[in-house]
Each structure stands twice: as C-alpha cells, then as structure tokens.
C-alpha cells in the first residue's frame, strides 16, 4: 500500500456507520473505499450519497460530484440546493470533513486554499471547517521539498482558526486540542524522533501511544 492509501485507510477509521462525511480531493477522496458501507458521502454541490464513478448509460450530466465528475448516487442518496448543502455543513450535520492542507498550526489553524502567489478560491473549505463535527487533515507529512507542514504558526492565508481535530500523515496521527498537538499513533517502524524531526511544532505524546493499523 502506498503512502496515500495508507493515510486514507487510517482516516476511514474515524467514520461510524450511518455517518455523513465530506471528502476533499486527493487523499481524502481515497478514504471512501476504506469506509463502512453505511457511510454516506456529501458533495458540496448538494448530493448526500456520492457513489462510484459512472460508466455507460449512467454517465450523465445530471449526477456529478463536487469535482464535476459523473458519479452514480449511492443507495439512499438525496440531492438538495447549494444553500441546503451548506446548511448541512454549517448546521453540524456532517460527522466529519476530511481535507488536505498546505499548513496546520499546533493549535489547529488550517491553511489549505491559497499561497501568497496563488489564491484562486476557497470553494467550500471555509464552511466545512466551521461546521463539521470532526475536521480531519489527511496529508503527506512534509512538502515535496521536505519542509514541515505542521508548524507553530501558518504563513499562508487561513481557511479557519483552531478548527482541526485530527491530523493523519504517513508518519503518524495527531489529535489537536486546546493544549496543542498530541501524538496518538505512529506508523509501523517509525519513532517519536522521526516525527519530531519533520514537525516544526512541539507535541505531547499519548500515554497509550498506538501503531497505525494495529
């Protein structure tokens, strides 16, 4: 299993049967395949019950996910307007939202939509991090250049302040709370020092530190 699927599989453990969950593009979307069958996926475009990618006669404009890809509605799916779709989000009806991140601060501030040079739109991300019951960041631990994405403070434009509850990377799982970061799980074969070397913020270590996938 590659790093992305490793992360996605761990993320899916946060979902309970019957949950309605929103998944961002990239690694978050991968987590759908590891979720229990009774989890429904919410698309910002107003669908509750995003199913598989469509083929053949089911490949129609009228059923798309929030990325504009043709999909098949899941069993039990429903559709609503964009206003109601975000009413679900802000109204606290999403059990979780899973997003990628450019940076996360030790207190759960999130920057995931813009850099100083590229600010082409926040889409639904700002609503999602305000409204969902659990905000889960699923990302590779460092940037492509090897720089830490978990930091004392974000430098890029914020998506939301103190909104992240969990961070899942190929190295570890952090809980994020009022006291900052708590290391909950390590990837198999990794050490606390491995995490510390790639994390630009202090963190506590859980008494019952676990192993991802164990």
């Amino acid at each position: 299993m590659d790093a992305k699927n490793f992360i996605a599989k761990r993320v899916a453990k946060y979902f309970e049967p019957g949950d309605v969950v929103n998944l961002g593009i990239g690694i978050p979307t991968l987590s759908a395949q590891y979720a229990a069958e009774t989890v429904l996926f919410h698309g910002e475009n107003g669908i509750i019950g995003v199913g598989d990618l469509a083929k053949g006669l089911l490949f129609v404009e009228s059923f798309c996910n929030a990325s504009g890809e043709e999909i098949v509605p899941a069993v039990g799916a429903s559709i609503c307007s964009s206003a109601t779709s975000f009413g679900i989000v802000r109204g606290g009806r999403l059990a979780a939202t899973v997003l990628g991140a450019l940076e996360v601060s030790e207190f759960g501030d999130l920057a995931n939509w813009a850099t100083p040079k590229r600010a082409f739109g926040m889409g639904g991300a700002m609503d999602l991090v305000v409204g969902a019951k659990k905000v889960i960041v699923a990302m590779e631990h460092c940037t492509k250049d090897g720089l830490p994405k978990i930091r004392k403070e974000c430098t890029f434009p914020y998506t939301g302040l103190r909104c992240v509850n969990h961070i899942v990377t190929e190295l570890c799982v952090f809980d994020v709370g009022e006291k900052g970061l708590l290391l909950r799980e390590l990837a198999p074969g990794k050490t606390i020092e491995d995490v510390a070397a790639k994390t630009d913020a202090p963190f506590e270590v859980a008494d019952d530190l676990g192993i991802i996938g164990a």
Binding site: N45, G68, R90, D109, M122, G123, M126, V130, L161
Partner: protein, 222 residues
Amino acid sequence: MKSKLCSREQIINLFKDGQSIAIGGFARCGIPHNLIQCVLDSGVRHLTLICNDTGEGGDGIGRLIHSRQVDKVIVSHIGTNPETVKLFQAGEIEVELNPQGTLAERIRCGGMGLGGVLTKTGLGTIVQNRRQTITVDGQTYILEPALKADVSLTRARRTDPIGNLAYHGTCQNFNPLVVTNGSVSIVEADFHLELNELTIDEIMTPGVFVDMILEQGALYGC
C-alpha cells in the same frame, strides 16, 4: 394564465452593458447554455457575473470569460478555468472570492428580500477583513450582505408555461437560488410541459419567481 415563453431575440434585447448577471450551475452541471449563448449574441460588455465558478476553460460560463464580456466575477473559485486565472493575474478581471456556502446564502438573500445573513464561516480569515462582524448572544459572526443581480439565468429540467420548475439530480445546485435573485429572472428548461402536467408536489420553484422562459429549441452543447 399568461405564457412566459419568449423568443431568443426578446431575451437578447434585454441585456445591457454593465449589468450584473447571476447564473446557475456548478462546474459543468446544470449550466444554462442557451441563455449564455444569448448573452454572447447580445455582445454586451462590462458585466459582473455572480456564479459558483467560471467553468472549465472555454465551455459553459467560461465562454463569457473568453469573450471578454466580463469585468468582475463574484464566485467561490476560479481555479478550474485557466483563462480566468490568466486575466485575473494580468489585472484584467476583478475577482471577489466567497466561501461557497456564503455565496449561496447571499444569492438566496437577494431573492428572498433579505439584507444579509450572519455566519461563522470565514472568521479569522481574509473574508472577515472586508466585512462587518456582529455579536449576538455572545457569539461573533460575519455579516454577509445580500447579492442582487439585474438578471438571473437559470437552467431547470422541466418547466410549464408559467415557470413552475422542477430540477434533476445535481443540476439543481445554485439554480433554485439564482432563479429567485434577478430583477428579471430568465429560465431555460430541458423539457417544456403543459400547464398542470407537473404535479403540484413536484414543483420545486413556484413560477411567481420567473419572468421569462426561453422558447424551446435545439439545446446548445449539452
């Protein structure tokens, strides 16, 4: 009843330079392609568009970006259209970015005769910087003002001659909000039904919100 069906020419004549136009649809889904063609054919310029996004290149709403008829867009993102990004970076188009749920509510407010809504979305971000914040019962909110367009362009699945509308699948998206918004509300529909052919419980938008319906013809590029 009076039929609200109008010819392409009647609709084209309605557009004016400098208007604001709200447009339904999301990505490639539920776009009023024929009404966008009417805006293109009108040749009007200096438009402000209110819509979720500017499409994916030269299709859908993107056609109005490529045609350079637009001075400003009020959207949730432009990232899917390289042309909008290019014009934005060159300072040739103004872009107001809104959180998607906030954009939906602002469009709804304009249609429902409300002045704005209070939301927590965007607190602590650049979205807050441009707005008033309000405290209610000890909670802080951003006050997001209503958006109101001169004209709104909506795509529905089915209409009757007085504009009672039904939508299909995720082509719904912003359409039921946009249809309420414009001072003149124009609709195109995939299927034109007779009066009372829609059962009363199927109707998602009462025809009272609709001023004009594009007469039936070959659908553009769907």
